[in-house]
């Protein structure tokens, strides 16, 4: 049937997007995942996650890699070849926070990773955490942001002294790709609707193109409801009633602003997971907070963001059972409020928080 042919084409083109993925590298039932600890509190929270995964007996073996930029042949900045090789083999990565040096001469590491693996979709599920109180309860939405073009194309010129133009680039291919991912995600995760966020009343051609592509893709996903909404209306309604929203798909800049807005609704970047999906089945999950150099090495960091990103990764790999176990243990610990790190309102150490989650996971066996 045409439907099935379409689905297999999409699968071939987009790689392992569906949650029922065949794990890529098999070695005695264990799947390899590249882990990039990062800087600052990165190493502490990465080891916390590894410990929790061990306690939950997750069939993953970790391959640790460093991604400090090096200058390749030809003078172009690139990530170390061992890191690239590892990622290409394992296809799945977990990344801690990376520090962006101000005058290092090379672009930010995140940008480099994005370009190397063509990470075109940034997915951020925002779910209210019971036990971590914010003025907003019952938030349950997902922001899917186009990550390669739009306002962040980096193309700027000084026309004459005192007049600058920045170019926002919208292409048919990138818009179609992100729209397809959004609808696939909605379908695979049983989400009811997808909303395209745009400003086509002002940016008629660019956002108009994005919107047209979303509408076209929506035709092939009749089981998912499709709506479109202006960016300002979304912002207005989001702060009054976030329960109205489900999956949001949008170009780069709006995505940046809205995903951080939604992170703020549930409690900030310290508790928000994030995943980047690339072409050829590559997916890198990361914590989006900073390196927090002031508390690095003091056993004070909160591993929740990286842990929830790792849970997102497990779901992407199809290990739903383990994902649910670890997620429940984490939420239960936070809800109980007995062992919390400083940023969550308690005064326990990172290792104590980790140990508590490990204990809960083991109790669930």
């Amino acid at each position: 049937m045409a439907g099935n042919a379409w689905r297999s084409t999409v699968s071939r083109v987009m790689g392992a997007v569906k949650s029922q993925t065949q794990p890529r590298t098999f070695s005695r039932g264990m799947q390899t995942v590249t882990i990039i600890p990062g800087d600052g509190i990165g190493p502490e929270i990465s080891s916390a996650v590894i410990k929790i995964f061990e306690a939950a007996k997750v069939p993953i073996q970790w391959e640790e890699r460093n991604v400090t930029a090096i200058k390749g042949p030809g003078g172009k900045w690139m990530i170390p070849p061992e890191a690239k090789e590892s990622m290409d083999k394992s296809k799945i990565g977990l990344k801690g926070p990376l520090k962006t040096p101000i005058a290092a001469g090379h672009p930010s590491m995140n940008l480099l990773l994005r370009k190397t693996f063509d990470l075109y979709a940034n997915v951020r599920p925002c779910v209210s955490i019971e036990g971590y109180k914010t003025p907003y309860t019952d938030v349950d939405l997902v922001t899917i942001r186009e990550n390669t073009e739009g306002e962040y194309s980096g193309i700027e010129h000084v026309i004459v002294d005192g007049v600058v133009q920045s170019i926002k680039l919208i292409t048919e291919d990138a818009s179609r790709r992100i729209a397809e991912y959004a609808f696939e995600y909605a379908r695979n995760n049983q989400r009811a609707s997808v909303t395209a966020v745009h400003k086509a009343n002002i940016m008629r051609m660019s956002d108009g193109l994005f919107l047209r592509k979303c509408r076209e893709v929506a035709e092939n996903f009749k089981d998912v409801k499709f709506t479109e909404m202006y960016l300002d209306t979304v912002c207005l309604n989001m702060v009054q009633d976030p329960t109205k929203f489900d999956v949001l798909v949008m170009p780069n800049l709006y995505g940046d602003i809205l995903s951080d807005l939604c992170a703020g609704l549930i409690g900030g970047l310290g508790v928000t997971p994030s995943g980047n999906i690339g072409a050829n089945g590559v997916a890198i999950f990361e914590s989006v907070h900073g390196t927090a150099p002031d508390i690095a090495g003091k056993d004070m960091a909160n591993p929740t963001a990286l842990l929830l990103s790792a849970v997102m990764m497990l779901r992407h790999m199809g290990l739903h059972g383990h994902a649910k176990k670890i997620e429940t243990a984490c939420f239960d610990t936070i809800r109980d409020k007995k062992v919390l790190t400083k940023d969550l309102g308690g005064n326990s150490k990172c290792s104590e928080f980790t140990a508590e989650i490990c204990r809960r996971v083991q109790d669930m066996e």
């Binding site: 926002k168 680039l169 660019s206 989001m238 940046d256 602003i257």
Partner: protein
């Protein structure tokens, strides 16, 4: 001509008495003439209520109504409106709908109005209002948004099929102008801090220029603290701790996002008035510029934002006494929960709210007419 006229707002009593040197342009026989553009959706009905209220309060303002049909392709109607505003100097308007499915040559009428009249500063004062239930309390933020350039330059082209480029223009002149406006307003209102909102870490040249202009202007106002924040962090801070912000200045698109977030924080689009100021003209409307198509002509729209916008207009014209009389009546009505419209959780109709405001005015002031 009126330069940066005093803007009353809540507590404008202490600024009364400060008037511009030359009289406002369209004042004939002691009565001002103001252009009125009904717009679409809830615009016409709410502006009718404004007229009703002004007649009742004997406000010496006559409205010259200019309709702009959003479905017409020709730009004659909007040009007529612009001419009328040039003549009168001041306008009160509803939002004109933009059908984004029409070809790109059909530009947004609201945008055309703003750029033709060079209304470079969009000012919005968000404050927690008594009687309105919100998640956050004690919010008092003034948002100043550059209104003519940035992402709203409407310069787009398709060089290669399937690849569209949209230009965002930032100029030194306009950035300095809006920063100057922001600091001047902050000083006039006795505000402590101005925060510039930008994304200069990514758009290094564009937003970098904007930020630099703000820093230059800040140097000339040592009594006012100046800091800056990246737009995504700003929205995150706004939903968790909005009380930290005082005055914010930013380019066009971020202004759109931040003003809508703040409007949502204080209770919604039906409560906040907005003003667009240029060197010679001023246009007043609701802050979030919604057409409200789905609730049009059902007598359920919240008239507060439009009525408060008309008060801002009265302040601008120098009719400060009328403005504070009407404003007091509006806030008294707002503090009564049974007179809340649906958008703020009540069951009252638009006319009930307006009638209540008129009764309040009658109680407190001598200046009412017997006939409505």
């Amino acid at each position: 001509m009126c330069e940066l006229n005093i803007w009353g707002g809540v507590g404008g009593a202490e600024l009364r008495g400060k008037r511009s040197v030359s009289p406002p342009p369209a004042k004939y026989g002691g009565r001002h003439t103001v252009t009125l553009i009904p717009g679409d959706g809830i615009g016409p009905e709410l502006l009718n209520h404004v007229r009703e209220l002004f007649r009742f309060c004997c406000v010496p303002v006559d409205f010259e109504v200019v309709t702009v049909d959003s479905s017409v392709v020709s730009e004659d109607e909007i040009n007529n409106a612009v001419t009328a505003i040039r003549r009168n100097g001041v306008a009160l308007k509803g939002n004109i709908e933009t059908n984004h499915n029409l070809p790109p040559s059909h530009k947004s009428r609201n945008n055309l109005l703003r750029t033709s009249l060079d209304l470079y500063a969009n000012v919005m004062h968000c404050q927690t209002l008594p009687g309105v239930q919100t998640r956050h309390k004690d919010i008092d933020i003034i948002i100043i948004r550059e209104n003519t350039e940035g992402e709203y330059s409407s310069l787009e082209h398709e060089n290669v099929p399937g690849v569209v480029e949209s230009l965002k223009i930032i100029t030194r002149v306009n950035s300095l102008r809006i920063a100057e406006y922001a600091f001047k307003l902050a000083r006039e209102k006795g505000r402590r801090r101005v925060t510039a909102v930008h994304k200069a870490n990514i758009m290094k040249l564009g937003d970098g220029l904007f930020l630099q202009c703000c820093k230059e202007v800040a140097a000339g106002y040592p009594d006012i603290a100046f800091d800056n924040m990246i737009v995504d962090n700003t929205t995150m801070q706004l939903v968790s701790k909005p009380q930290q912000f005082d005055v914010m200045v930013m380019p066009n698109l971020y202004g759109n996002v931040v003003s809508n977030v703040c409007a949502g924080l204080v209770g919604g689009p039906g409560l906040v008035p907005g003003a667009n100021y240029g060197k010679n003209y001023a246009v007043f409307e609701t802050a979030t510029r919604n057409t409200g198509k789905s609730i049009a002509n059902k007598n359920v729209a919240n008239p507060t934002a439009t009525l408060l916008a008309s008060c801002l207009m009265l302040d601008h014209l120098g009719l400060v006494d009328y403005a504070s009389m009407i404003r007091k009546a509006i806030f008294k009505t707002l503090s009564e929960t049974r007179l809340h419209t649906a958008d703020i959780g009540g069951l009252a109709t638009t006319s009930e709210v307006v009638q209540s405001i008129m009764r309040e005015v009658q109680k407190t002031g001598p200046l009412t007419s017997e006939y409505i």
